[in-house]
Symmetry: C2
Subunit: 138 residues, 2 copies
């Protein structure tokens, strides 16, 4: 039996998901990485830029432009850490929290449609397995 590469399967599905997300985020005025930043801050309220970059697996120099955009749009604030004046603490504003919730809801609805053909049991099994595989790498 011909077993298809796991990597090819994952890559194809990831590409489809990203393509489906892009217009939803664009309609909310968010870039992909901007959304990732808001998501991370939504359940871990404040973080230095370096810690944030490491947590989301992104480069610290590229994160700067993303934060510039988010700050300009009033979705996050950067305030100097009193304990270490080199560091700047990134925090969600109320507007940032709202924007993230709206985008997340849009994406959640898209994901439900994406998984359309799967039973509830298979959806749950998939999420469990994915969470386990994603967690192992840390």
């Amino acid at each position: 039996m011909e077993r298809e590469d796991l990597g090819a399967l994952f890559a194809r599905i990831t590409r489809r998901l990203i393509e489906a997300e892009r217009p939803l985020l664009e309609a909310r005025g968010l870039s992909m990485w901007g959304y990732v930043v808001l998501s991370h801050l939504s359940h871990r309220p404040a973080s230095t830029q370096l810690a944030l970059a490491r947590a989301i697996g992104y480069d610290k120099t590229r994160l700067i432009g993303v934060l510039d955009d988010l700050e300009r749009d009033g979705l996050v604030t950067r305030v100097p850490d009193p304990a270490d004046r080199r560091a700047r603490i990134v925090e969600l504003t109320p507007a940032g929290r709202d924007r993230h919730r709206d985008a997340r809801d849009d994406i959640g609805a898209m994901e439900d449609a994406f998984l359309g053909a799967l039973s509830d049991g298979r959806r749950a099994a998939l999420r469990r397995t994915l969470a386990q595989l994603a967690a192992e790498g840390e």
Copy 2:
């Protein structure tokens, strides 16, 4: 309950798989897309360049460099189609078939390790679900 984005989960796992594949392919002298081309030709023996590009979801202009490399290394041949002299038919050479088999075996072993913690039942369920999700988009 906080449900993590499906897209983020898939993207993280895909990145890990690709990072694990890269050194294996490099050791076999193959690029990622070179391997994808060999894989496709291994179960669909011959194809025009345009059909190949569409089948693997890649751009026809970028495919050219990939085929140049594979041809230079003696892994594929490009012969003009007698029925349509604009088109060139891409075919695996015996060396190409061997190279693909070796790389595929390396990758298969890596994937088994990657899925290490999962039971046989959960592996099978995952593959079934992934195949279904990947197929829907076509």
